[in-house]
Amino acid sequence: MNSIQITINDQVEHVADQISLVHIIELFSLPELGCVFAINNEIIPRSKWHETRLNNGDSISLFQAIAGG
């Protein structure tokens, strides 16, 4: 399978083409609970993590939900 280049919080990574967001989270042991994921500045709802596939050049932003006020 072809490899693609993506970024995760601006860090360049090489992964399999059409890998799902859920697999990315597993592969890089990214935190899940309390985290919000966006691809190319669009937040991916949690129920879409399985079906969302990564393409070459995609940029993943991952940030913690915060509740303070």
């Binding site: 966006a38 500045n41 669009e42 709802p45 949690r46 940030f63 913690q64 939900a65």
Partner: protein, 279 residues
Amino acid sequence: MNESKSKLDRHGISDVEFLRYQRQISLSEIGEHGQEHLATSHVLIIGCGGLGSAAAQFLAAAGVGHIVLVDDDVVESSNLQRQTIYRESDLGMSKAVAMRQQLLNINSNINVRAINGRLDHSQLKLEVMLADVVLDCTDNIPSRQSINKACFELRTDLIFASAIGWQGQFAVFEHSHTFVEPQACYRCVYPFDELPSPRSCNEVGVIGPVVGTLGNYQALAAIQKLTIGAYSLSTRTLHVFDGLSLNWQQLALLQDSDCEVCGVGLSDRSVQSQLGGGA
């Protein structure tokens, strides 16, 4: 204060009020009409911490006619670093009561009601029902989820912000408006009932101007809606602030069709809950 308020209702802007609010009345988007709308508006502010401190004083100063404050905490010395509405003499007092007094010191022509306690679901729904917009200024996920649910069910706009450390997050969920495409609610973005690590200001710390900036964004969004009648800012966007770089990142919001609050197939239940009063 009720007297001057009702006078404004009947006769529009008085000369005294025109002078007082002229710097915003002179803006073409606002004018006297917008000022009259502010005077008859009702804003529910839940949480009287750093966000509430910042938002409430600008809304009071701008002449929002009815403000309701909700908090069950008392003012502590560690609050004074960022919750700038309070004075040292307020230490030990109920936050909602102390904030009410400070807001009336800023503007005695408005009505402010203080609720020193937490609202149960039926009280929350009643307060949301009375409000034109709701500001979520709380500091914990369970409260934020309850407020989102009540605002969704009662089709009331929710102006959300949160802050911790150097970070802030802000979004407007425009539940009062029916869009062609379903819009995200708070739970679509944050489908959690708790956060894993300590994420409260007590445990992690927070910079005063960061939480103040986010509270000011909430006040700004409310003033847009209450004067212009619509938001000029994008309501389909999560605004993420970094207080170190001073960068804002804007992320598009998408509705989660499986969301337990606003997802498809749940709308019937929401309507029933709305009609039946729930809780």
